[in-house]
């Protein structure tokens, strides 16, 4: 009970803190913080369309966040979310624009599936290099991000270019919209179902349990008969596949084609989201949604109040800084002790 209270209380306080500093900043540059924040709120929540935009924004973040969560749970640092996201989309666009004779939902399903596989393969590379050659996955996955993005650039300026703009053709079939008032597409449903599956897998199945064990102590896992390397490779592949599916969904749901800047920054956002969400799939979704609120709201706020875009980025960073600092703060041994002194009945003998 007291834990729940603290868990809700602290993020709220942290976000408030960052807003106060943001307000000071806005005032300094001659803006009106109240007005700005009103826009922020309106932008994120005011109309069904705006709420929809927020959800749309959250979708790719959920995928990359889940990808990071899955890898980190097994103790592997997949920083290659962006590359896997992009490769998923790349294969999807290739398949869906070249495959003849299939249309409609079957085409989407094929396209998403192959995108997922592509992400999985891209994720498998650092995994294989790690378990066979002992290479550090961080460096490999960062390098692969650059390669994937350049490869995508090659495709949309070269072989898959359509017309006179450096971009690919648009996907022939798009993910359907759920509501008529907003652009929210079925990608969010896929994301949420995936979240539940991952949550169930990690915390309610034996394989998930073992995967977490490997993530926490590899040596003990090995001594206790868990196939450590298999799990590590598996988590790389699944992590990549999740990101790849994310890229595919983003392609079919919102972007429809590849062009410069596709998927930019989602990989690292995902890592931050997963960590802030305490490596819990549900937490990941919530944090991804918070990020999305900040971003859609921020767009409106910037547009409405006319502040430089950078101010919005500063406020966003402050939210991260304060939110994480807040939760780290209450987890400090000293502070935990303080809380337990305050809340619990005193005098408990040692065990």
């Amino acid at each position: 009970m007291k834990n729940m209270l603290i868990k809700i209380f602290v993020p709220v306080i942290s976000v408030l803190c960052s807003f106060i500093i943001g307000a000071i900043l806005i005032t300094i540059i001659g803006g009106n913080p109240m007005e700005a924040y009103t826009y922020l709120f309106k932008g994120a929540f005011c109309t069904p369309a705006n709420i929809g935009e927020t959800v749309i924004k959250a979708v790719p973040l959920i995928f990359t966040g889940l990808a990071a969560t899955f890898a980190y749970k097994c103790g592997v640092f997949n920083l290659g979310g962006e590359g896997q996201f992009v490769m998923g989309a790349v294969v999807s666009i290739w398949i869906s624009t070249t495959l003849k004779g299939i249309t409609g939902i079957p085409l989407i399903i094929i396209s998403l599936t192959l995108g997922t596989i592509a992400g999985g393969i891209w994720g498998a590379i650092p995994g294989i290099l790690k378990i066979t050659r002992g290479l550090n996955e961080i460096i490999v996955s960062i390098m692969l991000n650059y390669v994937a993005i350049l490869f995508m650039g090659y495709l949309y300026t070269g072989p898959l270019r359509e017309g006179n703009v450096p971009q690919t053709a648009s996907v022939p079939v798009k993910l359907g919209r759920i509501f008529s008032q907003s652009r929210v597409h079925y990608g969010i449903v896929i994301a949420l179902i995936l979240t539940l599956i991952i949550y169930y897998f990690l915390f309610y199945t034996s394989k998930g349990f073992k995967l977490r064990a490997v993530g926490l102590n590899q040596i003990a896992s090995q001594f206790n008969g868990l196939p450590v390397k298999k799990f590590m490779l598996f988590s790389f592949i699944i992590s990549g596949a999740i990101a790849g599916l994310g890229g595919s969904v983003e392609l079919h749901g919102t972007q429809f084609r590849l062009m410069s800047g596709f998927g930019q920054g989602y990989g690292f956002d995902g890592v931050a989201i997963a960590l802030i969400g305490q490596l819990n799939p549900i937490g990941t979704v919530l944090v991804a949604y918070l990020f999305a609120i900040l971003r859609t709201g921020a767009t409106t706020m910037q547009v409405g109040s006319g502040m430089p875009t950078s101010v919005i980025d500063i406020i966003q960073a402050l939210v991260i800084v304060f939110a994480v600092a807040g939760s780290a703060f209450i987890n400090l041994p000293k502070i935990r002790q303080f809380f337990s002194n305050v809340f619990s009945k005193p005098r408990k003998e040692p065990l």
């Binding site: 803006g31 932008g43 006179n164 547009v303 409405g304």
Partner: protein, 322 residues
């Protein structure tokens, strides 16, 4: 900051009708907004487009606003926000925004869109199309005339279509004025990595003895100019602003100026008159949207004369027959 936010809560599909009636009253202040995927302070494309909007807006009495450093995924939502906020005209300076503009324009029939380098014409989208070929020809001709080493260079930021056309016609024009010309080109893969621009220019000079360069890569170009300034008799041709009119330089010999403001002005007037849509405003030498910039002293009089003659031919369409 905006003050009439009360009427801007309309849904995506339809902007409320009182907005429309409002736009017909005379004392309405019109508003124009610009979106940008790079920075408006990049000293290149972004800055030029922004300044064009400011210039045009001052003339036509528009209020202005901008959002820069956008990622691809944010193009559409940002324009939607502007549309919701009651902006009349949205300026999207680049054909990479085409999709997003089309999508948002379809949902906001009463908001107007100006798409630079675009090829779309609808009821509320107007394309502004400075003639990339003419720009390339002009730069190429000047480079060809000025080069003493018979090697000239080109730096692209990304492989945009306009960039490719510029490169192509740059090469053609240079070869037309000097058949021995060799053209070297490279892409920085970025519009902001100035250091890379410097390295590319440096390697072109040292390896290929390039002595005149032209670039289509914003901040990267300024890096290239820095490399050139380390050598004697190496020159750069500027664009889209008239660089020598703003800043002194011992490298820049002239600029191919694109006056997007003139084209934007036409759009703004159309907005006011209510005659917006279904057209492409071409920008070329003949309507002054493209022009010859200030020359430096390094350009000898005879070359200048010859060059201006060629520009005249380009304007007439007789320079290179296709």
């Amino acid at each position: 900051a905006s003050s009439n936010s009360t009427s801007t809560t309309g849904s995506t599909s339809q902007v409320e009708s009182d907005d429309v009636s409002e736009s017909e009253t005379e004392d309405k202040t019109y508003k124009v907004a610009m979106i940008l995927d790079s920075s408006i302070s990049d000293g290149g494309w972004g800055a030029a487009c922004y300044n064009a909007m400011i210039t045009a807006a001052e003339k036509c009495g528009f209020e202005t606003q901008y959002t820069d450093n956008l990622t691809t995924a944010d193009f559409a939502p940002t324009m939607r926000s502007y549309a919701d906020m009651g902006f009349d005209l949205i300026f999207a300076p680049g054909n990479q925004y085409t999709d997003a503009v089309k999508e948002v324009a379809a949902d906001y029939p009463n908001v107007y869109f100006a798409l630079l380098n675009g090829t779309v014409e609808t009821d509320n989208i107007v394309s502004l199309l400075p003639d990339a070929q003419q720009i390339g020809y002009m730069a190429g001709a000047l480079a060809g005339l000025m080069s003493k080493t018979n090697s000239i260079g080109f730096i692209g930021g990304m492989e945009l279509d306009t960039t490719k056309i510029k490169l192509e016609s740059y090469e053609k024009a240079a070869k037309a004025v000097n058949s021995n010309i060799q053209v070297y080109s490279a892409y920085a893969g970025s519009f902001s990595d100035s250091a890379k621009g410097k390295e590319i220019a440096d390697s072109m000079v040292t390896m290929n003895d390039v002595d005149v360069m032209f670039g289509d890569a914003s901040a990267v170009d300024s890096g290239a100019r820095e490399a050139l300034s380390n050598y004697e008799n190496r020159y750069d041709i500027g664009q889209p602003s008239d660089l020598l009119a703003i800043q002194e330089s011992d490298v820049v010999i002239g600029s191919v100026v694109t006056d997007n403001a003139a084209m934007l002005e036409i759009c703004m007037e159309d907005v006011k008159k209510g005659t917006y849509g279904n057209k492409t405003i071409y920008g070329d030498l003949s309507n002054g949207a493209i022009s010859v910039g200030t020359f430096s002293d390094d350009v000898p009089e005879d070359i200048k004369e010859k060059y201006l003659e060629i520009v005249e031919q380009i304007k007439e369409g007789t320079f290179i027959e296709e």
